[in-house]
């Protein structure tokens, strides 16, 4: 089992998803993220999958669910760093990350979340 660390940067949680996680680790990641969101009162989450080499239907379903759960808790998620080969495979497999914000890398994900959190706080 791979260990997952959740790093808090201001109002944002950053999670580097392990490169080849087993199903248990992916499910644990969901619990850990939701727990950290509540504990740190965070407003945003970045799930960085830049080292992930395989996205199959279980992984996609668990990540999509996590994004919805975070949204129910008032948080915003950005999925960052999907590799080109993974993007090709994900679409051909028929998986969709509908309604999930995505970014090329963590820097852009941080910019997106900071801007979104700022606009929420200035009263829209």
């Amino acid at each position: 089992m791979a260990t997952v660390s959740v790093i808090k940067i201001r109002d944002i949680l950053l999670v580097a998803v392990p490169s080849d996680p087993d199903d248990f680790t992916v499910s644990e990641l969901q619990d850990q993220v939701l727990d950290a969101l509540q504990r740190y009162n965070a407003k945003g989450l970045i799930l960085d999958i830049s080292t992930v080499e395989t996205v199959d239907s279980f992984f996609a379903r668990t990540i999509s669910e996590t994004v919805k759960m975070v949204a129910l808790m008032g948080g915003l998620t950005v999925l960052s760093g999907m590799r080109a080969c993974v993007a090709v495979t994900t679409v051909q497999l028929g998986l969709s990350f509908d309604k999930t914000l995505t970014a090329l890398d963590v820097d852009r994900a941080m910019d997106m979340l900071s801007a979104a959190i700022d606009s929420m706080e200035t009263g829209l």
């Binding site: 080849d20 080499e53 495979t89």
Partner: protein, 135 residues
């Protein structure tokens, strides 16, 4: 037939899905597949080994390089689980008898060049997939 690489492993636990991905990745890389095709093949193996684990409980995965005009990789997934009642229906995107997305079988077919499913109710399922190297 030029046997460049071959092997087999049991699929009994959740961790075997990870081990299967590693073995298939090594085989596909050693045959010279590019990164996108390696990802397609490994993802297909991940879907089919998880199907064995979830629906049949246990089974076996075999892999071998094949050489017919062109070099390729063949993967066989065999279990003695409940079998697939309606293969045509199982190939419909979105259809599932479990908790999945119903994307595994139709998606796997799109990722690979060839796919054959043999299944008998109460006896088990054997799925054979192939990917050819493009030169």
């Amino acid at each position: 037939m030029n046997m460049l690489c071959h092997g087999e492993m049991p699929i009994d636990t959740e961790n075997d899905i990870v081990m299967a991905r590693k073995s298939v990745r090594e085989a596909a890389v050693s045959l010279g597949f590019g990164v996108t095709d390696v990802t397609r093949i490994v993802t297909a193996a991940s879907e089919l080994t998880r199907n064995i684990y979830v629906y049949a409980g246990s089974g076996i995965m075999r892999w071998q390089s094949i050489n017919e005009n062109n070099l390729g990789l063949e993967l066989v997934f065999e279990d003695h689980g409940p079998g697939i009642t309606d293969i045509t229906l199982a190939m419909e995107p979105g259809y599932t008898t479990g908790k999945g997305l119903g994307m595994g079988l139709p998606g796997t077919k799109r990722l690979m060049d060839e796919m054959e499913i043999m299944s008998e109710i109460g006896k088990g399922t054997t799925i054979c997939i192939r990917k050819w190297l493009r030169r």
